[in-house]
Symmetry: C2
Subunit: 160 residues, 2 copies
């Protein structure tokens, strides 16, 4: 279905998930998944972290990062409600894949080589929901982020 | 932080949410938000619908749509577990923003004119979580999709 002129400017800009401890989550999304931190917005009760993959082949300036925060697709927003990281009574966030609260499923990243990416994840101590060798779907995997959110790892090029 | 060579191919490909009734949700994401349906994958118990905004300025071929499903960012995957649409006992899905099950927050679309986009949404009968005129953040809005998921409507260009 062709888009209407009224929606011609629309982009699927970002997906927001809440995280318990931004230090742990930023290490995961930056060092393990390889996203760039575009922007940090601190408020009195919470802080927002915006991340995205840099496909430019060069480092972006701070202004470019800040601008791209709402000018592109594929942005991940992490919301940290201050205090959860050190609250012994904090129950953790639901991943969206268990009852009650089921609804949200996962985010996904495409990679050029799922096997290789997963070998690296394993070396880095990443938890798996499903390794490529598990189950029927041998070409995909599911890893878990520090809060238990599912991240699907899918080949970026499909054999049609 | 610059990406490593090992993650250079990575893309934030898609976000998956479960929907009760695909007819209702497809009408919403196609006709109201203006996304294109890229691909439909039917399985015995469930069907997957992949949608994305078409920024090409032309209609894509079926093969291009199918290929772009994992080759680009900004894809939305809707999972329909067969039967929920006609199950009187189905409780509906949690949006991720209420206890228990809080975790997932929202998806967001950027638009060139938030006011205009919201006027149109209102005419089309879309439910609002927050109209632009509500609260302090006058430049953004939150609409609700048919399952109650929050969709943030944000200006695509920020005044820095």
């Amino acid at each position: 279905m062709p888009r209407t002129t009224e929606t011609a400017s629309f982009k699927f800009n970002h997906t927001m998930i809440r995280v318990k401890d931004p230090k742990v989550s930023l290490a995961f999304y930056q060092d393990i998944l390889g996203m760039d931190l575009l922007s940090v917005k601190e408020f009195s009760d919470f802080t927002l972290y915006f991340l995205a993959f840099n496909h430019e082949g060069r480092e972006l300036t701070a202004e470019e990062k800040e601008k791209s925060r709402f000018a592109r697709e594929g942005v991940l927003e992490l919301t940290h409600n201050h205090g959860t990281e050190s609250d012994a009574n904090f129950q953790g966030y639901a991943s969206g894949n268990t009852e009650p609260g089921k609804g949200f499923g996962h985010i996904a990243i495409t990679v050029d080589d799922v096997e290789k990416a997963c070998e690296r994840f394993e070396k880095l101590g990443v938890q798996f929901k499903k390794k490529p060798s598990d189950g029927k779907m041998r070409h995909i995997a599911f890893i878990l982020d520090p809060d238990g959110y599912w991240i699907e790892v899918v080949p970026g090029v499909l054999d049609l």
